[in-house]
Symmetry: C2
DNA sequence: CTGAAAGCGCTTACAG
DNA sequence: CTGAAAGCGCTTACAG
């Protein structure tokens, strides 16, 4: 009851294995009658070509690596759905690499390459020169997801977070708010820096002084911190890089009797499911996470299909975002 | 600047490729001096064995398939971390399969097998006889994660949700509550059924009538539904299968002016990050999601290592859980 | 449109 | 402890 081999199929169909292989890979090159016959046997026997043999012989594995950082949570799940949908559509399989320790990055990259994937989807919020160098030497195309490429030899699919933060800030200024703070994280991430730049630009343009606060990633640490912060003064608006931090801030405020959104308006940046489960519901930038994954994978497919393209194209695809106005703003 | 092959390494080291291969796979069979020399060259050249060739020749791919259902979110991310950590430890790579359409399950399983993985981690909350039959015919070991195996030929790593629900319900009864409702989902999942059984048993033992309510998976539908439900009567305690639904219920209650936990206590079942971001913070069963992934992968490793074991062992590993008492209960 | 044959890059008995 | 050789299961020019 072992797995059928291509030989078995060829034997049963009375053709050579070359023909069976062609039926699978270049069906148009096979006479219809032969093709039908072979396909029937393939189905009957439940034949599935061995992926390793296929990969070895064709030097294509129809597998792509998805490299994501450890910290990634809810939103990454959705992104992977997007990637997987596109992958399915084009017949690719996903190999997952979790980039745990930044110091091990080089090793990880080695593994990725050794796994002989046809392409790599790379998500990393802390790009170093080393990484760029590694990518240069990578024999397969690489596309960044939710990460903006700094090199114009590498394509990326992202959202213009700077523009997004700018627009939100400007909108809040236009609505008459002046005391708008930006709450980032202690650790500096590229994407959060983009948001911060957009915020600062909008503030300066309006003649207002940017006010940037760095919070911790830990919920209980933040609670203490926000408590103190709100004791000192309550801003009109807080623009927060991460939904979970925004909600945490809101909860602290509400417990202190500060009215959201009347006294304090809070805006998040991810539109995770948290945003809908908070009370009041969090206004936030609606980042098309699923689409990013989907587009990135589709784009990668193009690069993998076309050797040429890889060296000419390196698109920076910026996806449209929305803003979901909910109860935490007025 | 192409990837180095085993031939290149052998040439540079002045040994045969068999020796290089042995250095990698059975280092103890190679004289130390030779081994050192070869390892140095491997490092210098940045040689990485081609995974496909290796898999084909050895019939082992050091890759495992992780099959998860589409709906999985936050908690699955953590489980995959657990899987990945164990996988790294044992030198395995993860291939991700998302089980989108239950009807396509058979096809998916075909793909999984064709991908020639060494083992399969399977998560599915709706097992059918067909699936069990497919698994019987699978040439590599399969382990269920967060899914209880109904067959004693298939191992699984899970939590005893029935026991967990029983204990929580009993505790709430002991604390003097009588009107305890169980809120499940319209769609029936095996794990939720386990919870329901545990709840019902505890209620009956105390001479109380179980009260089971089925909510939708959609937040806004639920809000309308809960509003009506709470208009009719406010139970002492609501035991809710999913954190997000529990929080949604809490938010509706709070908005109606019902005091949580004074008038209504709410308990969730997953301990996702939502639970810490709700206001009041949600009491819930603390399911060791990371550990489940980690244990399942470790266990799978044993089965993959030992042909024998696979046919003798089919452990049902039930992990210990905790209950995180927070603000939504008194 | 089809087949015979080489080759993909490894691993692993087998001999020595 | 090491090497020569067969073989893993496919794909793909090449020839016909």
């Amino acid at each position: 009851m072992n797995q059928a081999k291509i030989y078995d199929v060829a034997g049963a169909a009375g053709v050579s294995l070359a023909t069976v292989s062609r039926v699978l890979n270049h069906p148009e090159k096979v006479k219809e009658a032969t093709r039908e016959k072979v396909l029937k046997i393939i189905k009957d026997k439940g034949y599935k070509p061995n992926a390793n043999a296929r990969g070895l012989a064709s030097r294509r594995s129809t597998t792509v690596a998805v490299v994501i950082p450890e910290l990634s949570r809810a939103s990454v799940a959705e992104m992977i759905q997007g990637i997987d949908d596109a992958a399915k559509k084009f017949g690719y399989t996903i190999r997952l690499f979790i980039n745990r320790d930044p110091k091990m990055e080089e090793d990880l990259w080695g593994e990725v390459i050794a796994s002989s994937v046809d392409g790599i989807l790379f998500m990393n919020d802390e790009m170093t020169k080393d990484i760029y160098r590694q990518i240069e030497y990578t024999p397969v195309p690489v596309v960044f997801v939710n990460t903006l490429s700094q090199k114009d030899t590498i394509g990326s699919v992202c959202v213009d977070y700077e523009d997004c933060a700018y627009k939100i800030t400007k909108e809040m200024i236009d609505r008459g708010n002046k005391d708008i703070v930006f709450i980032g994280t202690e650790h500096i991430y590229t994407l959060n820096e983009m948001k911060q730049r957009g915020y600062s630009r909008a503030m300066r343009e309006a003649g207002l002084e940017p006010k940037i606060i760095h919070s911790s990633g830990d919920i209980s640490v933040n609670e203490v911190f926000f408590n103190k912060m709100l004791d000192e003064s309550v801003p009109d608006v807080a623009l927060v890089v991460r939904d979970s931090i925004a909600i945490s801030l809101m909860n602290v405020a509400v417990k202190k009797g500060i009215k959201v959104p009347d006294q304090l308006q809070v805006i998040g940046f991810q539109n995770t499911r948290y945003a809908l489960l908070s009370n009041p519901k969090l206004t936030c930038a609606e980042i098309p996470v699923y689409e990013m994954g989907n587009k990135a994978m589709s784009y990668l497919t193009e690069l993998m299909k076309d050797e040429e393209a890889r060296h000419h194209k390196a698109d920076k695809i910026l996806l449209a975002y929305d803003i979901a106005w909910r109860e935490s703003t007025k």
